[in-house]
């Protein structure tokens, strides 16, 4: 069996596996970067004011949700793999994985930067720190949209064989 033959007969699987992997991997990469950005700033604040740990942690967790979205889409794609996939279904699943993956990858970093700025609010004007959370959560909208688009691809418009 040549490589091309392998691809032709198993293309649906290959693409779907890549879709699942990319969904988890890209959004996970984004989230770890976002959480890292906030974590660095938060650690600086907690050195001086350890009692603000709880609220700083919430800010650090915000860019972490993209990783969760990607993981869930990856999981849902993986559930489809044993069903037996055509090439076009595989492509569809790859696209579903990329949608949440790319939005997660890009939005997490931006959200991390906003949340890190929110740490400054927490440091200087702690009564207003809820507003920092809101600013950061606004960025998340686009990750949610990516996630929901992937969900729709998987459950509503998925091409049954």
């Amino acid at each position: 069996m040549t490589f091309i033959e392998f691809l032709a007969s198993n293309g649906g699987y290959v693409l779907a596996v890549f879709g699942a992997a990319l969904a988890v991997f890209m959004s996970g990469t984004g989230s770890s970067r976002g959480c890292g950005i906030v974590g660095k700033t938060a650690a600086g604040l907690v050195t001086a004011e350890p009692e603000k740990f709880g609220r700083a942690l919430i800010l650090q967790l915000l860019p972490g949700t993209q990783g969760l979205y990607g993981f869930i889409i990856g999981f849902l794609i993986a559930l489809k793999i044993p069903e037996g996939l055509t090439m076009s279904q595989g492509l569809y699943l790859l696209a579903a994985g990329l949608t949440v993956g790319v939005t997660g990858l890009t939005s997490s970093k931006s959200q991390g930067e906003v949340a890190a700025a929110g740490i400054q609010i927490l440091a200087k004007n702690p009564e207003q720190s809820t507003k920092g959370i809101i600013f950061a959560a606004i960025v998340e909208t686009y990750a949610i949209l990516g996630f929901v688009a992937s969900i729709i691809m998987l459950f509503v418009t998925y091409p049954e064989a």
Binding site: L68, F75, L76, A137, I138, T141, I144, I151
Partner: protein, 658 residues
């Protein structure tokens, strides 16, 4: 149900009545002072806070110090119990007199004394420990310095050698001072202690030579072993003393709460002193200006009469919109949402209070976005607990009061979507294939839900435009109401009818009517939106730009699809965690392996749903706020009022009984 009507007053009275009057007003807690010391003083002098303000501040600092010292020894209720403990309650008068009646000064002085003793003890402990550390290398010395000093022909030196060790030192002795002796007491990697004896006439020479070999002389007063033992005995005594001192601080732990209450008491008195920084004085008289709610103004007048007899003059007038502070008053339900208005900006005095208008939408939006019966019941239970538990702060209680109404909506919306912690349990509708589905299924009805969300958005935005028109009408500007609200409402509604009609849902006549109504309102907008510009060209350009604003409305309405997006993300995250738990659990049997798997599955489901409810609630909170602030407030609301902060008691610990 709106911004509370205030009256402004100017009070002129004798300076000697000021203190009792202020005390009474502080108890009344319904007056917001105006700062008269800025701007033109009309030849009057600013009333200075009394010297006792700085004294009070010093007292407060003393108490803070004492509280910090006692705090580590106070057993505090933790977790659940802390929330169930009610704060101490007292009347204003009790709080005001508390500091006077409690001998906090002796407590503070005692703590200060103990603290100083402790500092002394720990300094001594450090010094003695350091000495013992340096004596450690002499422990093996078996002669006493007294004995060696008494020798007739020989000088004895004790000394330390550095890292180079004993070798160069021994070499120097062997080369030049044959009539001598040395002994290495202890040899370590960094320090070597030695004793060295030489004939008295050679002593100076020897010292000079040996210094070059790394020897530095040490003076020992007593036999080191003895000294170390003495030191250790002393250390033991000191440690005991330190423990005793800590014990005497711990014995004062009962004073902790009293000190906290004293802090409140002094802060309240300090507040009274600082209030003077708003007033003007002559030699004997004082001028006070401020605002009080119109419906409790009588109480202010009565308080003044009681304190000043008839030796006062008070002028009452209507508050001016530009300067008056803002106090909100709403129904029990709407007032729970005042925090949302406040977070954006308070209305200006005289402006419409958006709180009662945003509340029903807020509840509905939050409900749809979370949309799960299980989450709703959980949030409901949490909000009822927080509302009932006495240990939460007012801010948290207010937030949870809002959450109470939202949680009911979450449960209702959950029934609509059929979900209970991500499991579809309520499916009343029969489908064609004989199965059942929820009223709005999160897989089959997404398109319908998107359309409904747009319709909700349309209603919200039109309501916002209507509010703007209504407040313009109230201000006597009917034309503005027609141009800026009426035209837009007609424009948006007719465009909707036209579009929906074009799809073929409505009779064809409706689409045609919608089309012409849309064109007419667009022309109306083009003619009126630039009316504030001076030139004809400006008016035309402004009008066209106004019509271009339609695209903004389009964006606004599409923004409401986030209602569906958030609901779906919560539903599918919940479903996925349940699926994962199901995969882990596998087929159930009575074997031990199956039970362990089941336990793991339960942990996954519980943690997953906990994460999901947190995420959903946070997302719903943020996005509901956004829809209110951007899409809704943008249509009619400016805000920018400053809050009415009544002069009253300052209490962090005590709850004031009314």
């Amino acid at each position: 149900m709106s911004v509370v009507k205030l009256d402004e007053f100017t009070l002129l009275t004798l300076d000697s009545y000021k203190e009792p009057l202020l005390k009474r007003l502080q108890e009344f807690e319904g007056v917001h002072f105006k700062n008269l010391q800025t701007g033109d003083l009309d030849g009057l002098k600013p009333d200075r806070a009394l010297t006792d303000v700085s004294e009070l501040e010093a007292e407060i600092a003393k108490i803070r110090f004492a509280i910090n010292k006692i705090e580590p020894f106070v057993k505090k209720a933790a977790g659940f119990k802390a929330y169930m403990t009610a704060p101490p309650e007292m009347s204003f008068k009790e709080l005001d007199d508390y500091a006077k009646n409690y001998d906090y000064e002796s407590v503070c002085a005692a703590l200060k004394r103990i603290d100083e003793e402790m500092k002394g003890v720990s300094a001594e402990i450090n010094a003695i420990s350091a000495e013992n550390e340096s004596l450690r290398i002499w422990r093996a010395l078996d002669v006493s310095p007294e004995e060696t000093d008494a020798l007739q022909y020989v000088s004895c030196f004790y000394g330390v050698l550095g890292k180079a060790g004993a070798a160069p030192f021994i070499e120097a002795i062997n080369e030049k001072f044959e009539a001598s002796f040395y002994d290495v007491i202890s040899a370590g990697p960094n320090e070597t202690s030695v004793i060295f004896g030489v004939l008295k006439e050679q002593a100076d020479d020897a010292l000079r030579e040996l210094k070059n070999a790394g020897f530095s002389k040490v003076t020992l007063d007593a036999p080191p072993v003895k000294r170390i033992e003495e030191n250790e005995a002393r250390l033991k005594a000191l440690r005991e003393e330190s423990e005793n001192l800590q014990g005497s601080v711990a014995a004062m732990a009962a004073e902790y709460h009293k000190l906290l209450m004293t802090l409140d008491s002094l802060a309240t008195i300090l507040e009274r002193g600082k209030a003077r920084e708003n007033f003007l004085t002559t030699v004997n008289a004082v001028v006070i200006d401020g605002w009080a709610p119109s419906d409790s103004f009588g109480e202010l007048e009565e308080a003044t009469r009681k304190c000043c007899g008839d030796e006062y003059y008070m002028e009452r007038r209507e508050a001016e919109a530009e300067t008056a502070p803002v106090k909100l008053k709403n129904s029990k339900m709407a007032s729970a949402f005042e925090g949302i208005t406040r977070m954006y900006a308070l209305p200006k005095y005289g402006e419409i209070d958006p709180t009662p208008h945003l509340a029903p939408f807020y509840i509905a939006f939050f409900g749809i976005m979370v949309g799960d019966m299980g989450f709703g019941l959980l949030l409901l239970a949490l909000s009822i607990f927080v509302k009932r538990a006495p240990g939460f702060s007012n801010g948290v209680k207010e937030f949870m009061n809002m959450m109470f109404y939202c949680a009911i909506a979450v449960t209702v919306a959950g029934a609509l979507f059929g979900g209970f912690f991500g499991v579809t349990v309520f499916s009343p509708l029969r489908m064609d294939d004989g199965g059942f589905k929820p009223i709005l299924d999160s897989r089959l009805d997404i398109q319908n839900m998107l359309v409904y969300s747009l319709a909700i958005g349309l209603a919200h935005i039109i309501y916002g435009l209507w509010l703007k028109g209504w407040s313009n009408l109230k201000d006597g500007k009917p034309l503005d109401a027609l141009f800026d609200s009426g035209f837009w409402i007609i424009c948006i509604l007719s465009a909707t009818v036209w579009l929906v009609g074009a799809v073929g849902v409505l009779p064809s006549g409706a689409a045609v009517a919608g089309k012409w109504a849309f064109i007419a309102s667009a022309v109306g907008l083009a003619l009126t939106q630039g009316r504030e510009n001076a030139t004809i060209v400006g008016k035309a350009a402004g009008g066209l730009f106004g019509v271009y604003g339609i695209t903004g409305y389009l964006g606004d309405i599409v923004s409401y699809t986030r209602l569906v997006a958030l609901m779906l993300s919560g539903a599918y995250i919940g479903m996925s965690f349940n699926m994962m738990a199901g995969l882990v659990a596998g087929e159930f049997s009575l074997g031990i392996g199956s039970i362990i798997r089941l336990l793991f599955a339960a942990v996954i489901a519980v943690l997953g749903q906990a994460l999901n409810v947190g995420l959903s609630a946070l997302g719903a909170y943020v996005h509901t706020c956004r829809l209110q602030y951007v899409e809704f407030f943008g249509k009619f609301y400016d805000g920018g009022g400053k809050p009415f902060t009544p002069f009253g008691a300052v209490s962090a610990t005590v709850k004031i009984k009314k």
